[in-house]
């Protein structure tokens, strides 16, 4: 059983296209996130949702729109893809850090824009 699963694992697409990445967690966590990891391995938070409500929206272009149909799912839709969007995108979830086990990450989606 994969705790945080995201699909697809690899995504190659042309500039200008619209694409979505899906994420599901079966941990019963209340909070889900999207992180972006660039070519230098730097990980940065993009969005945070708590019980389907947007909590954090870091400085991310409007072309990126998260959607949370329920607290177990947080999908990422990207419009008008650009070359600079190429990166690995990680979904994560957490219950509450006070419970001790912190965040659980998915295995990532490698997006390549050509």
């Amino acid at each position: 059983d994969t705790a945080v699963s995201q699909t697809p694992k690899y995504l190659v697409t042309q500039m200008g296209n619209d694409k979505s990445i899906k994420c599901e967690q079966n941990l019963g966590h209340d909070t889900m996130y999207w992180y972006k990891q660039d070519s230098k391995k730097f990980l940065k938070i993009m969005f945070s949702y708590n019980n389907k409500e947007l909590i954090i929206n870091e400085t991310v272009p409007n072309r990126f729109s998260p959607k949370s149909p329920d607290k177990a799912h947080l999908n990422l839709h990207i419009n008008s893809l650009e070359l600079g969007d190429s990166a690995v995108y990680f979904c994560a979830s957490s219950q509450d850090v006070s419970l001790g086990y912190g965040y659980t990450f998915g295995s990532g989606t490698r997006l390549t824009v050509v």
Partner: protein, 113 residues
Amino acid sequence: GESVGLHLPTLSVQEGDNSIINCAYSNSASDYFIWYKQESGKGPQFIIDIRSNMDKRQGQRVTVLLNKTVKHLSLQIAATQPGDSAVYFCAEGLGGGADGLTFGKGTHLIIQP
């Protein structure tokens, strides 16, 4: 293959030796710290965490030390094994979790046979 590891600080240790990976964090208000291990092609994997009311915490073969005075975090890995080769990230957080984590730059640990 990727060359991104060349952009990261690298620590090379002999198999069987102890490894110490250091991290400076940025926010003096952070109250929760985590070390993650990321192997090639995988997501970050939780190793150990520590709260700001502690200065040391031990797990299996790993120890995390927290020095709040100088905002410094370290991860010690005892008897390093080939499977420990990975990129290690420290992360800091604040509050109940919904604020997300701020990650450090990462250190590439290489194990020499």
